[in-house]
């Protein structure tokens, strides 16, 4: 990797706790994109120029401002119901962020808990949890998510639960593996010798030691979860219509794509792509930083 040589060429720094956590190859642009999307999501009410769910039928299919026929009133044009695309993109960021983060945390909590229990207790508990994970992994994730969505019906919080139930298995697998090696470490044996209960050991000695891996996995899962949310919305079983979700906008725009109204699908598509790409780049960087093997320690 060519980037490494630059880091070595830097002048020596004063030693500090963060010395090993150099920011030389920090993915600045992806991080900025995620921060901006997060801020937009939080302040959507203040930023959006129009109500995202109410349009005027007299102003349908306006093109973006730089094209002929575009006006500064609708910077990125309007859709088939005359709703402002920019406002809908801004509120769509909120849906993606909320669904993305809560689903990742939900899946992480379920998967990490089961992974720790399975790895630490071993025996038949391990067998039951791991066979359940195997079965779960054998189901195609998207098909399973569609199946669940069809049962519980469309709503934003149902999507969170569905995504959590679909993706916890990845955490369970990885975390269990780490716990298997951790539980043979001397400090865990010392805790046993000192009379700590199994639950104290799992909570106080195992969990803090695997939290790095869970965070890295969570960052990498963020992209997957956002894509799946957009897919479900695109298929019409995700976030229900009047609400603005990027996947939903993509789906609404697809009929008029051939007629040249590109802004209806290309813009939300770009938003999804940028956000997923940023999440993945950041996750990759974190993985390299937090994984001792890749850090060559």
């Amino acid at each position: 990797m060519a980037i490494q040589t630059e880091v070595i060429a830097l002048p020596p720094r004063a030693p500090s706790r963060l010395a090993s956590f150099r920011l030389g190859d920090f993915p600045l642009i992806p991080a900025l994109i995620l921060v901006i999307v997060a801020l937009v999501a939080i302040f959507a009410n203040l930023l959006a120029p129009h109500n995202p769910e109410i349009g005027s039928l007299t102003a349908r299919f306006r093109p973006p401002v730089w094209q002929t026929g575009g006006s500064t009133k609708y910077l990125l044009g309007t859709d088939q119901l005359g709703r402002d695309v920019l406002s809908r993109l801004i509120f769509g960021a909120r849906v993606s962020m909320v669904v993305g983060f809560t689903a990742v945390i939900f899946a992480g909590a379920v998967g990490t808990t089961l992974g720790i229990i399975s790895g630490y207790l071993g025996g038949w508990v391990d067998q039951v949890i791991m066979r359940l994970t195997d079965t779960w992994l054998a189901l195609p994730a998207l098909t399973f998510a569609i199946f669940l969505a069809a049962i519980v019906g469309p709503s934003m919080w149902n999507i969170v639960i569905i995504l959590g139930l679909t993706y916890w298995t990845r955490y369970a697998r990885v975390i269990r593996g780490e716990v298997l090696s951790l539980k043979e470490r001397e400090f865990v044996r010392l805790a046993i010798v000192a009379g700590c209960s199994k639950w104290t050991i799992m909570w106080r000695h195992i969990l803090p030691n695997i939290i790095n891996s869970a965070i890295v996995l969570g960052t990498l899962m963020l992209g997957v979860v956002i894509i799946t949310e957009a897919t479900l919305s695109f298929l019409g079983i995700g976030v229900p219509p009047p609400e603005a979700a990027w996947g939903l906008m993509l789906s609404d725009g697809k009929q008029s794509l051939m007629v040249g109204r590109w802004w209806l699908s290309v813009l939300p598509g770009c938003c999804i792509m940028l956000m997923v790409l940023s999440a993945n780049l950041l996750g990759d960087w974190l993985r390299v930083k937090l994984d001792p093997q890749l850090r060559q320690l």
Partner: protein, 340 residues
């Protein structure tokens, strides 16, 4: 000794059983030992002689493949083998503490020293975080760590090996146990630190009236530290008794050979005396005495029949036919078997 011993092991056997149940390794076989309050018992033996398994058996933290097949472990009059797992958890760390083989790696890298020393107090005495913390400072002072107030806030990687070891010692004594088991606690230390640590352990023992079980293969440490000695060979205690008596007049040929193999300053031998051969396979033990194939004094009976533990003097016993007092003249037998 009239007083009840603190810990008394009676015919304790721990076997490792393979998954199919076809191979049985007798790691601890018919061990009987006793240790009084405030006393130090040294357990010596070669690698694989069952010393560590014996320690794990006393703590009841054996790996899943191991089974305690018979015997009694009377600790302050209660049989530890009859306790439930939950009751046993309250014995561990509180009444019997243990220092592990590698104390250097025994600390969790993510917590401060104060948190870890205080943890045992919080688990067993329900101490609050604050009071556990302030008692941790006192414990660090007790194990002679300089400026304990700042040390408690530090993480294990900020300490030297000797300090980490003393911290593990502090965790061991935190709840005022009656018995401390130290399983080769000095193997990873250099000699000066080792001497300091042993002095510390002895002082702690004196101040707190602890009984200490010291597992080692270093006879020099035993001579310095211990009152009683048990020599283990192939899962059995072949000889036990007061240290000075055993060192002066070993009864069992194995003990004698062990003592002969220590190099001495005054020695002008060209080669060290070694014991020929290998310890037996614990899953396929010879029918007679387990030491018979390597024993210089072996005779016919040794190969046919395993000797029981004979009491040779007050508080001393040996598993050797030579120690059988009912025989006419053991010394004569030695000469006779010299021809072999």
């Amino acid at each position: 000794m009239a007083a009840r011993p603190l810990l008394e092991l009676k015919n304790l056997s721990t076997h490792y059983v393979s998954a199919q149940g076809t191979r049985v390794v007798r790691a601890v076989d018919e061990v009987s030992l006793r240790i009084n309050a405030g006393e130090t018992l040294g357990i010596v033996g070669e690698s694989g002689s069952g010393k560590s398994t014996l320690a794990l058996t006393i703590m009841r933290i054996l790996p899943v493949a191991a089974r305690i097949v018979s015997g009694q472990m009377l600790f302050e009059g209660e049989d530890l083998l009859l306790k439930s797992d939950e009751e046993m958890r309250h014995v561990r760390g509180k009444r019997i503490a243990m220092i592990l083989q590698d104390p250097m790696a025994s600390l969790n890298p993510l917590f401060t020293v104060g948190d870890q020393v205080g943890e045992t107090l919080r688990v067993h005495e329900g101490a609050s975080r604050g009071s556990a913390w302030s008692r941790a400072v006192g414990l660090l002072k007790a194990v002679r760590i300089p400026s304990p107030e700042t040390r408690v806030t530090q993480y294990p990687h900020e300490m030297s090996g000797g300090m980490r070891q003393r911290i593990v010692g502090a965790i061991g004594i935190s709840c005022g146990p009656r018995l401390l088991i130290a399983d080769e606690p000095t193997t990873s230390l250099d000699l000066t630190i080792q001497a300091q640590y042993l002095a510390l352990l002895r002082d702690l023992q004196r101040e707190h009236g602890l009984a200490l079980i010291f597992i080692t293969h270093n006879l020099g440490i035993v001579a310095k530290m211990c009152d009683q000695l048990a020599v283990m060979y192939a899962g059995r205690v072949v000889e036990s008794g007061p240290v000075s008596q055993i060192f002066n007049t070993p009864t069992h040929p194995y003990t004698e050979a062990l003592l002969n193999s220590i190099p001495r300053m005054t020695d002008n031998r060209q080669r060290l005396a070694a014991i020929d051969g290998q310890p037996p396979d614990l899953s396929a033990m010879p029918p007679g005495c387990s030491f018979a194939p390597r024993c210089p004094d072996v005779f016919d009976r040794c190969r046919a029949q395993a000797p029981p533990a004979f009491t040779t003097a007050a508080g001393r016993s040996a598993r050797c036919w030579l120690a059988d007092a009912s025989r006419d003249n053991p010394a004569h037998l030695r000469v006779e078997s010299g021809a072999l």
